[in-house]
């Protein structure tokens, strides 16, 4: 069912005359009665029942209302591209605005029903439902403009063409859209036009516009969460229990009361367990609950932060303090995979019988550590709470969830809450659940009446993360006489909230005749996990693909050819196509100097066990390891199949950035734990790749199968780059890194001298 049909059924597309005579395209529907009274949002004209998707003002400038916050992936630009395709306006005339979640709520989910729980999520902008909604609205606007011009010129609307913001007729009549905006708003069409079929697209998939917000970014005008400055705003510096799950025992405000600018200390109590939901959230609210925290409020952030550092605070660490170091937790994760798992995720054939049959059996254990998103903009949020209203400015990755948690934390009615989406200084999954918004609202509640900007220091941001989970895996396979696996057993483990659902994001177990996958949750891990650029996937690809590499080695086969033999059994041709592209383009098989090698890996983000779903992506990493063990990556080749691509350049930069992200995750990133606390706090101890470390990256579009989908691009490269590098390292040094990050391994070889 397309969105067009949904729209027609649940409301009716209409226009209205906006302020100053603008044409506003949108959806009208019966208003949810209770919301009419408060009306805290900016109203469009008189009819609160109207939800705009786009507006054309009398000068011809076009505003697109976007639900997806742009976290750097270009989703706002993508929404504008849909409008451009159907409206045929000038690209320079388009601007975008975020569609307020309170309006969505008041109108019964008119925006968010397009996309379900991900309606206000920062990704998936190329999925069909979203696309159809924008294109339907834009096509309606275009036809109304034509109808208005037809009326004025006394010609048939079907003879009028719309191009680059200009309406013209063969008779020589021609006028910019601006001229007919007001008239168009009054037009009623006999039938709403359907969006163009893709064969007729002239802009989508053809043009590659750069992100429309870049002029604001490069002049410093873009307003991120930390940049909002509502009148009267004060600042809060935040500290949460250093051991997650711990509790504040006491603090001594007197010690800092007289410090410059200090206004107050606010204590935040942990959310009551079992608190009932006050609103139906996009994601379960359990992921956003607040822990014990304290905040110092001052006139300026520097004052607040300095006073917080000087504030004597006593914490009760709670049970998490029993984990004296990360090795203890790693051992617990590995112990869990050395026994049968508590949940059978997949079971095909008879694995046990195959192992009993003897022959070549390969076993290996793998581990991935806790990692933080370390997005460049530290967590923050600004909130103004009064007795009967809440206004929040959030750099959210899911605007609606930020709205929901504000309702939940304040106990206010939804129509008393107003949420402003700001620009987002990096997301990568960290700002999805709204725990940051909720904490800020909780602090601001304790200092009501003025806007409070709550800022996590970098250290606080890193140490209070929702991390890529620590995960262990035990892999075992039996090889048949042809060298291919006849049986595969995989046991995985992680703390509560680890992403076992990502297990379905590979074809590997689906092409082995006998396969069993089991998972176990290590329940007493107190450290919180969350989605991090390909949750689950970025560990599972490492496990699967490293293991396939070991099988290839046991079978004496070339790692790339071996993968072709495995994945040619899978009914999605994209896998083999990608591997062949990589073989051709990466220089695979051409000789390299001693100390250098190429490794390959492949994975799929989003397939969920189905062929022709998600984005399949393969990478070849060309690396060098010095005899002392220092790794340098020279080149990464990436080939992928997302079906088709909408904006080639947007895909190119996402894949480049994602490859670098995946490389860093595998090579550098790990959080340590000491007495339950996260040790690393800043980029000095948690190193990131910089310009000088960045390899040459080649993105190959030849792997695309032209299957009818425009699947996701952000997550896919993060998985395969790591195992491909591990393979190269193993070939050079004879030492296979079975845990990340590789920098922790002694990779010296050949005597180790420089």
């Amino acid at each position: 069912m397309t969105e067009h049909m949904k729209l027609s059924r649940r409301g009716f597309i209409s226009t209205m005359l906006g302020t100053g005579g603008a044409l506003v395209m949108g959806l009208s529907r019966p208003v949810v009665a209770a919301t009419l009274g408060a009306k805290p949002w900016d109203s469009f004209g008189e009819g609160a029942a109207f939800t705009p998707w786009l507006q054309i003002d009398p000068t011809g400038k076009v505003t697109v209302y976007v639900t997806h916050p742009d976290i750097g992936n270009g989703v706002v630009t993508q929404a504008c591209s849909y409008i451009r395709e159907e409206l045929a306006c000038r690209w320079e005339d388009i601007r975008a605005e975020y569609a307020a979640p309170e309006r969505d709520h008041a109108l019964g989910g008119v925006y968010s029903e397009v996309g379900g729980p991900l309606g206000y999520f920062s990704g998936r902008s190329t999925f069909e439902d979203r696309r159809t909604a924008y294109m339907t609205a834009a096509a309606g606007a275009r036809e109304r403009l034509k109808a208005a011009a037809a009326e004025a010129w006394g010609v048939d609307a079907s003879e009028i063409t719309a191009e680059e913001g200009v309406l013209s007729h063969a008779s020589g009549q021609s006028a910019p859209y601006a001229e007919f905006v007001a008239a168009a708003a009054a037009v009623t069409l006999a039938e709403e036009p359907a969006p163009k079929p893709r064969e007729e697209w002239t802009f989508l998939t053809k043009a590659s516009p750069a992100k429309i917000q870049i002029p604001e970014i490069v002049t410093g005008r873009a307003v991120y969460g930390l940049d909002v400055r509502p009148p009267g705003m004060v600042y809060a510096a935040l500290r949460q229990s250093p051991v997650m799950g711990g509790q504040l025992v006491s603090y001594d405000f007197e010690a800092i009361r007289d410090m410059p600018g200090v206004r107050a200390v606010v204590e935040v109590k942990p959310t009551e367990p079992g608190e009932p939901d006050r609103i139906k959230p996009a994601f379960p609210l359990g992921a956003s609950v607040t822990g014990s925290a304290i905040a110092v409020i001052a006139d300026h952030y520097w004052q607040a932060r300095t006073a917080l550092d000087a504030l004597p605070v006593v914490w009760d660490d709670g049970p998490g303090a029993k984990w004296l170091n990360i090795e203890m937790m790693e051992e617990a994760a590995m112990a869990a995979v050395r026994a049968p798992g508590e949940t059978v995720e997949l079971s095909v054939g008879d694995v046990a019988a195959e192992f009993e049959a003897g022959g070549t059996v390969v076993e290996a254990e793998y581990l991935t550590p806790y990692c933080d998103h370390v997005q460049l903009e530290p967590l923050n949020c600004t909130a103004l709470i009064t007795e009967n209203s809440a206004e929040v400015w959030a750099p959210a990755q899911h605007t609606q969830q930020a709205f929901f948690v504000t309702v939940q934390e304040t106990g206010l009615a939804p129509e008393q809450v107003k949420l402003h989406q700001t620009y987002v200084g990096g997301g990568f999954g960290r700002r999805v659940f709204g725990d940051d918004t909720r904490m800020a609202v909780a602090v601001a509640k304790g200092y009501p009446g003025v806007p409070v900007q709550v800022i996590w220091s970098r250290e606080e941001s890193v140490r209070q993360g929702r991390y890529r989970p620590l995960m262990g895996a035990h892999m075992k396979a039996r090889l048949d006489d042809d060298g291919l696996p006849s049986a595969l057993q995989m046991r995985v483990s992680g703390g509560p909230g680890f992403f076992s659902n990502g297990l379905a994001n590979t074809a590997f177990p689906l092409v082995v005749p006998n396969a069993q996958i089991e998972s176990t949750v290590v329940r007493d891990f107190h450290i919180k996990a969350g989605p991090l650029r390909g949750p689950g996937y970025n560990s599972f690809v490492f496990f699967h693909e490293s293991f396939i590499d070991e099988l290839a080695e046991a079978a004496g086969a070339d790692p790339l050819d071996y993968r072709i033999r495995i994945y040619e059994k899978w009914e999605d041709e994209g896998w083999v196509k990608i591997l062949n592209v990589l073989k051709e383009k990466s220089g695979w098989g051409t000789p390299l100097p001693t100390g250098q090698a190429r490794g390959v890996a492949i994975g799929n983000w989003g397939m969920g066990g189905r062929p022709q779903h998600g984005t399949t992506l393969g990478a070849v990493v060309h690396a060098e390891v010095s005899t002392e063990g220092r790794v340098k990556v020279h080149r990464i080749d990436v080939a992928f199949d997302s079906g088709r691509v909408m904006n080639r350049d947007a895909v190119q930069v996402q894949l480049e950035g994602g490859a670098i992200f995946g490389l860093n995750l595998a090579m550098n990133e790990k959080l340590n734990v000491q007495n339950g606390r996260i040790v690393e706090g800043n980029y000095d101890e948690y190193p990131l790749i910089r310009m000088a470390d960045t390899p040459e990256i080649h993105i190959h579009f030849e792997g695309l199968t032209d299957h009818d989908r425009y699947d996701e691009i952000g997550e896919p490269p993060v998985g395969p780059v790591g195992p491909a590098l591990a393979s190269a390292i193993a070939q050079i040094t004879g030492k296979r890194p079975r845990s990340q990050p590789y920098r922790e391994h002694d990779l010296s070889w050949g005597g180790g001298e420089a």
Binding site: A255, M259, R305, T306, D309, A310, E459, R630, N675, G681, N682, D684, E685, P687, A692
Partner: protein, 446 residues
């Protein structure tokens, strides 16, 4: 043969007698002016607390996460690790049963009540100069104002026979002065107050005086030219505190020296390494008058002549217009350091210290330069407020060779006269030093 056996037997007898005598001497209790003296009535908290801050007892007798004065801090020695002891008034594990005289013998003579000699990691050769009043104040503080903690002392890791204590008495006889502080009548009371603080409680010489082959400090007062002439200890170079002339504090005014000890920083430098700990736990708590006296004393100490550092502008100029041909250390400096320390290596107010000219870069040993690049600086806590201008550690980001190149560049630029640094020197310190922590560390005394 028989003659030899007789000779040997005689020798054995003499040797045994000598050992018995030495054992007796090495376990006997020296006298104390407080023998038979009952401690006076309890004093105000502040009296003894100040004495304890000046003497910085807490720095060694506590761990970062432990109770104040409960001991347990591990100290590496060439023979193995030892641990600072519990000096809370707990009767079983601490010093609860100590008389004032027992306490005095431990502090000023390094002798436990049972006659066991303390390892001279305890700076009793300096504390010997403490006044009777200060010893009584310290005793009062520990007995009446410190919470007892029933925490056992960890055993030392020094193996038999090296763990036998009585031979330490021989070291004491050879190296540890027992004289009390004698004011110099030629000098002002102000000067003498400074001398007393520096030599006795402050035990500045423990780090800043060079040590001999037996780890003995070379001199305990200004009469020895080696006293406070700079030393290398625990991976940090403690620069000369003789400020009469020359580089380092020779170029500082008394006011600047006072600011350094009171605020932890001035335009010449910021406390780091072991001095950051001494500052955070001790000098930051001292009165302005006492710090002035210390500064006055230090500035009065003459110093052997040395080549004077002069700023050389050519380094700064060399950064302009392309670094492709520059040495790797200069490139790394531009890439990693110049954003804060500038191309000129000069201070930025009192918060970013200069790299041009300070003692640690001019010293013969590169230890401090390597150590601070590897491990960064801790947080300086001034007036109870931790600063946020900390040098980040580069242990994870830079290799031994890169740090060596960088340290070499810094030590040879802007007129600095240090030597080149080798990757081996970096590797050795990397292995011996702990990863850095950005946690605020001020040891609480209550």
């Amino acid at each position: 043969m028989r003659a030899f056996a007789r000779w040997f037997a005689r020798l054995a007898v003499v040797a045994v007698a000598a050992v018995v005598a030495a054992y007796w001497y090495g376990t006997r209790l020296p006298s104390s002016p407080f023998d038979g003296v009952q401690a006076a009535a309890a004093m105000p908290l502040e009296t003894g607390q100040y004495a304890a801050r000046v003497s910085d007892c807490v720095a060694c007798h506590s761990t970062h996460d432990g109770q104040p004065f409960a001991g347990g801090l591990e100290m590496g020695t060439p023979l193995g690790s030892i641990h600072a002891t519990n000096i809370t008034p707990d009767p079983e594990h601490g010093i609860g049963n100590y008389s004032l005289a027992d306490f005095d013998r431990a502090v000023r003579r390094g002798v436990a009540p049972d006659g066991r000699r303390l390892y001279p990691a305890m700076p009793y050769p300096s504390y010997a100069k403490l006044s009777d009043e200060d010893v009584a104040a310290l005793y009062d503080y520990f007995m009446n104002h410190v919470e007892p903690v029933a925490q056992p002392n960890p055993p030392s890791e020094i193996a038999w026979p090296l763990n036998i204590r009585w031979p330490i008495e021989a070291w004491n006889i050879a190296f540890a002065p027992t004289d009390s502080f004698e004011p110099d009548p030629e000098q002002s009371d102000f000067w003498n107050r400074g001398a007393y603080l520096v030599q006795a409680g402050g035990h500045c010489g423990s780090c800043h005086s060079p040590r001999g082959v037996a780890m003995n400090e070379q001199g305990y007062d200004e009469t020895d030219p080696a006293f406070l002439s700079g030393a290398l200890l625990d991976g940090w170079y403690a620069p000369p505190l003789r400020g009469g002339s020359g580089n380092g504090i020779g170029r500082w005014s008394e006011d600047e020296l006072v600011a350094f000890l009171k605020q932890g920083r001035n335009e010449h430098g910021v406390v780091f390494g072991s001095m950051m700990e001494a500052f955070n736990n001790s000098t930051a708590f001292m009165t302005e008058a006492d710090l002035r006296a210390m500064a006055h004393y230090m500035k009065s100490l003459p110093r052997a002549s040395e080549p004077l550092w002069e700023y050389d502008e050519t380094t700064t100029a060399s950064f302009a217009g392309g670094m492709a041909e520059a040495q790797p250390g200069a490139q790394l400096y531009l890439q990693k350091c110049s954003y804060c320390h500038g191309r000129d290596g000069q201070n930025r107010g009192t918060f970013i210290p200069p790299l041009a000219g300070p003692s640690s870069v001019l010293a013969d040993t590169p230890a401090s330069v390597i150590n601070i690049i590897l491990n960064g600086a801790g947080r300086v806590v001034s007036d109870g407020v931790p600063d946020s201008y900390r040098m980040p550690p580069y242990r994870v980001q830079l290799t031994d060779r890169e740090i060596a190149d960088l340290a070499t560049f810094v030590r040879t630029s802007w007129g600095n006269t240090g030597d080149a640094v080798t990757p081996e020197e970096v590797r050795e310190l990397r292995e011996r030093t702990d990863p850095f922590s950005d946690r605020v560390i001020v040891l609480q005394m209550r």
